[in-house]
């Protein structure tokens, strides 16, 4: 039995994310008073294992590993952890790891469910640079939406503490709420651009060859998600600051994506090859 498969490496990465999540609980309790190197290093270790798993899968397929739910979820997790490691180079923002690690752990556990990673046939039905780019851009968009939701969650927590005069609001290392709101809005905007381009490429590459492309449930779902984020961004620009409604919107929209992505993927003949 080969103990060094891509799934084993990914399992190890998820275990490290789990450790980081457990450690994050103590950071939540202490109110983020110090930047945290330990969490950053744990997530860096998880990232190395994560990249190894993705590389092994990518080399075995000879293209970007985004062909089933396991690979797609792994890719979204990779986008999120990469963004965190870059942001975490700024010491005072390292505490963000306490928000990122539970999300990575949750995504990892979800991705590891055996049904999500059926063996590939001799070759996936749709291959080529266009398909890889379509999938990669859309998954990066979901990564950006995930980070936007995390920033939204931080906004809600800090805003609540400021509104109700909690001492931890001034003690915490959170950035100002105005900045959190801006970060969340920018992440959602960038995610929206990536999603738009990804969907356009999908329509251009697959729409030409497939009958019923626009009636596929995943395509309809994606357009619905696109409309949700468009509405959120429009609402945000209507006001000088979106405030709590915008932050709740960012969190709820990503929760919707997380909860329905799996189901629509399974129901879509275009995206799921039994």
């Amino acid at each position: 039995m080969n103990w060094f498969t891509d799934r084993h490496f990914f399992l190890l990465a998820v275990l490290v994310y789990g450790l980081s999540t457990a450690y994050s609980v103590s950071l939540w309790r202490s109110g983020f008073r110090k930047d945290n190197r330990v969490n950053y290093l744990l997530l860096l270790a998880g990232f190395c294992l994560h990249v190894t798993a993705m590389s092994l899968r990518g080399f075995s397929l000879q293209h970007c590993p985004v062909n089933n739910l396991f690979e797609a979820t792994m890719f979204v997790g990779w986008t999120i952890v990469t963004a965190y490691l870059v942001i975490g180079l700024v010491a005072r923002l390292r505490f963000l790891g306490a928000f990122v690690s539970p999300l990575l752990f949750f995504l990892g556990v979800f991705a590891l469910m055996p049904a999500l990673d059926p063996p590939h046939g001799p070759k996936p039905e749709f291959t080529g640079a266009g398909v890889s780019l379509h999938a990669a851009l859309i998954l990066q968009a979901y990564g950006a939406f995930g980070l936007g939701a995390i920033a939204g969650l931080m906004y809600l927590s800090q805003e609540h503490d400021l509104k109700f005069h909690k001492l931890r609001a001034v003690f915490s290392m959170f950035p100002p709420i105005q900045k959190l709101e801006l970060i969340s809005a920018r992440l959602l905007r960038n995610g929206f651009i990536l999603l738009t381009i990804g969907l356009a490429i999908g329509a251009a590459v697959l729409g030409r060859h497939q009958d019923g492309y626009f009636s596929d449930i995943k395509v309809i779902w994606s357009l619905f998600v696109w409309a949700i984020y468009l509405a959120l961004l429009l609402m945000r620009y209507k006001f000088a600051q979106g405030g709590r409604p915008f932050a709740w919107g960012a969190v709820a929209a990503f929760a919707f994506v997380l909860l329905t992505f799996w189901g629509t993927n399974l129901l879509s003949p275009l995206h799921h090859h039994p």
Binding site: L162, H165, V170, Q178, A240, Q241, G243
Partner: protein
């Protein structure tokens, strides 16, 4: 040879006594010279601030005679004629070194954990060093004290947080707004605390300050002094379109701002965040306005509670600081014993 300290501080006597023993900076080198010339000390540093006057010496004398001689020196140098009982304290090794480290770390300061004292102590030491009144013993003790003070600052929360109303208000503003230099401050009713708060916000980079006071002369005076502009008192609601922080401290008997009055103003502001600081007693702003979206209202009790909590958290850190000091003083004492 041991390190001893004699002095007076805010803990032992009032300012009326302390000021009689204060050293003018220009007189310190002469005082150090005469201390060493008298044979009381081989090395000496004089620290003279508004809260304390202390002489640190490395002396060949036993602590008892050394304290007596140092006390006489202080009394004679300042020509003090009154009676001294508990006002002056004298500490011998090892507690003298603990005391030095505590002073450097701000643990003995009037405002617990303040950092100004470290700069003052460094200045006092540099002055003695420049005039060659320090040697191996005091050099090592002071340098180790400075290092320990920095260590305490980074490893504990002793210096963390604001313990005055004005600085808490600034800290809150910095938790709401990305950068203060994009935001203007409105002061309604120019009382003492609101003036201090406006000054603190300006010193942290606020874009400007607008004063609306019933007495226009006072508003203009403050505007000229702090660098802002004065507007007629009745114009303050119109300013809400431009400002993002408002400090209110009028002597009005009722609320001057309530939810019904604020909601249309927020609409005009396109719901930009607004920090309201109500320092007035009786209060100027109806607490209901805190329920308006993107409005953050703090009254004087809220600010004072945060300041007190900060102070309490600093006090909770004292034990940790003293443990660090004990760890850092120990090697110093061991090495001094070896060299005796």
């Amino acid at each position: 040879m041991s390190v001893v300290v004699i002095g007076l501080s805010h803990r032992s006597c009032p300012v009326a006594v302390r000021e009689r023993f204060a050293f003018a900076e220009v007189k310190i080198p002469g005082a150090l010279e005469s201390l060493r010339g008298s044979g009381i000390a081989e090395e000496a540093v004089i620290l003279s601030t508004c809260n304390r006057v202390e002489i640190y010496v490395s002396t060949p004398l036993e602590p008892g005679p050394a304290f007596q001689a140092l006390k006489e020196f202080l009394v004679n140098f300042h020509a003090f004629e009154g009676e001294l009982n508990e006002e002056m304290y004298a500490i011998s090794e090892p507690l003298s070194l603990h005391h030095l480290f505590k002073v450097a770390g701000g643990l003995d300061s009037m405002v617990l954990g303040e950092t100004e004292i470290l700069g003052q102590l460094k200045k006092a030491y540099d002055l003695a060093l420049q005039h060659r009144h320090t040697g191996a013993r005091l050099n090592k003790a002071f340098q180790r004290a400075f290092y320990t003070a920095k260590h305490i600052r980074t490893e504990t929360n002793i210096q963390r947080g604001s313990i005055s109303i004005a600085s808490v208000a600034v800290e809150l503003a910095e938790k709401i707004f990305s950068s203060l230099n994009e935001h203007e401050v409105l002061v309604i009713g120019a009382g003492d605390t609101s003036e201090k708060t406006a000054r603190a916000l300006m010193s942290r980079g606020a874009r400007g300050v607008v004063f609306a006071n019933r007495s226009p002369e006072r508003a203009q005076l403050l505007a000229a002094d702090i660098g802002g502009r004065a507007v007629p008192f009745e114009d303050w609601p119109a300013q809400f379109q431009h400002v993002d922080i408002a400090i209110s401290s009028t002597s009005a008997p009722d609320y001057i701002l309530n939810r019904a009055r604020l909601e249309p103003l927020m609409k005009q502001r396109r719901h930009r965040p607004l920090l309201l600081i109500d320092i007035a007693v009786p209060r100027d702003i109806d607490p209901e306005v805190n329920y308006v979206e993107n409005v953050y209202l703090y009254n004087v009790d809220d600010l004072q509670t945060i300041a007190n909590d900060y102070l309490k958290s600093r006090q909770d850190e004292i034990a940790r600081c003293e443990q660090i000091i004990a760890e850092k003083v120990l090697p110093l004492l061991t090495s001094q014993k070896l060299h005796r």
